[in-house]
Symmetry: C2
C-alpha cells in the first residue's frame, strides 16, 4: 500500500477515486495535475463542485435540472405542452434538445426499472408522470428510453399505468442508424427494421 | 452545441472537462454522479480539492509533497543521507517507497528535459540538486528516470553538471521485468539486457 507524504493529498486522491471509472492511479494523476496548475484554476473546480451540489434544483414538473422551481423548458410558452417525452435522465434531455426536432415537454424518470440494481417503479418519477398525463391538455406521451430489456420493461409498466387515461402513447423509432452501412448493423436491429418497415416518405430525406 | 439547463451545471462540466483525459461526456457523467450522491459525499470532493490546493507544501530540500518545510523522508534520522535518488515527480517517490528497497533520500526534479514541451533544465529542480550533491555527506546519486530519450537526456545533463563533484552516479537497472516472459519482451529491451548482462548472483533470488 502506498504511504502518502501528506494527509491532504491522500484525502483528495481518495475522493477522486470514488468517482465512477476513476481508479487510484488516475485519481493520483488528476490531483497532481491540479497541484501543477495555477491555483485559481484548481480552486475553480473545487468551487464549481460545491456550487453545483449546494445550489442546483430540480424542476417540480419534469424533474429536469433547473435553477428555479420550474425549468426553462416547462416555463417556455412557445413549447407544445400537449406532448410529453419520457426520458431516463437529464443527459437524454440534452441529447434530444440538441437535435432541435422536438418542441414538446419532457419528463425525467431518474432511471429505469432494473430489479438487478434494486430500482423498482417506486424509485422513479412515475407517479408524477401519471398525474401530468391526466391533465386535460396532454395528448401524447413519447417514450424515449434505452432500447434494452430494462427500457422495454419500464415502457410496459408505464403503459399499464396510463391505459385508463385517454392518451396516445408512442415510442421513438428503432432501426438502422442514419449513415450506418447495413453490413455492419447487428442482426437483431436489422431483422427488426425489416419486420417494422415503414412506407417510403420522400419528405424525410430533407431532414 | 448542447444548451445546459443550468449555468452551475455548465460550469461544473467545463471545469471537469479541463482535467487531463476527461472529455465533455465524461465530465457530464461525473457531475450527474455527484448530483445523485448524498450531498456530504460530493461536498467532500470539492472541499478536498480546495484543501489540497491551498494548504499543500513542498519540501525545501527534496521538493516532495510535504505538510511542513522539510518532508517526512528528509527529516527521518533513520534514513541514509549519503544516497540521493533523483526522480521525475512525486508519483515516482511513492512507487519507489512502496518497494521498501531504498532507504536513502530523494530529489524530485518536477519533470524531465523535453524541448518539445518547452521544458529545459531551468524549469527543473536541478540547481538545488547540484548544491545538495556538493554537501560533504552525499556519496551517491541514483538516477531513477524514465528509460526514454527525454530521461536519458536529463541524466546526461545532470551528469555533466555533477562531473566536477567527487561523487558516484548510478542509474537504476534496465532489463527484462521480473515475471516477464522473454517471448513477449520488446526487442530493444531484450537486446540490451543481453549486452548488459550481469554476473549470476544467487542472493538476489531471495528478494
Amino acid at each position: 500500500m502506498i504511504s502518502f507524504p501528506s494527509k491532504l493529498l491522500e484525502e483528495a486522491v481518495n475522493e477522486f477515486a470514488k468517482l465512477p471509472g476513476v481508479g487510484r492511479r488516475t485519481a493520483m494523476r488528476l490531483v497532481l495535475h491540479l497541484l501543477k496548475e495555477k491555483e485559481d484554476k484548481s480552486l475553480a473546480l473545487g468551487n464549481a463542485i460545491l456550487a453545483v451540489r449546494q445550489n442546483i434544483k430540480y424542476c417540480k414538473t419534469c424533474h429536469n435540472i433547473s435553477e428555479s422551481d420550474i425549468c426553462l423548458i416547462c416555463s417556455d410558452k412557445n413549447r407544445d405542452n400537449s406532448m410529453i417525452c419520457v426520458v431516463e435522465d437529464i443527459r437524454d434531455v440534452l441529447a434530444i434538445e440538441s437535435t432541435n426536432q422536438f418542441k414538446g415537454l419532457y419528463h425525467v424518470l431518474g432511471g429505469i426499472i432494473s430489479p438487478m440494481d434494486g430500482i423498482g417503479p417506486n424509485e422513479l418519477n412515475i407517479e408524477s408522470l401519471v398525474s401530468r398525463a391526466s391533465e386535460n391538455n396532454v395528448k401524447e406521451i413519447i417514450m424515449a428510453l434505452s432500447t434494452t430489456i430494462e427500457g422495454d420493461t419500464t415502457i410496459f409498466y408505464i403503459f399499464k399505468r396510463l391505459k385508463n387515461i385517454n392518451i396516445s402513447i408512442s415510442t421513438i423509432a428503432k432501426g438502422v442508424a442514419i449513415g450506418d452501412e447495413l453490413e455492419y448493423t447487428d442482426e437483431i436491429t436489422l431483422g427488426r427494421s425489416i419486420v417494422n418497415r415503414v412506407p417510403y416518405n420522400y419528405s424525410l430525406l430533407k431532414m
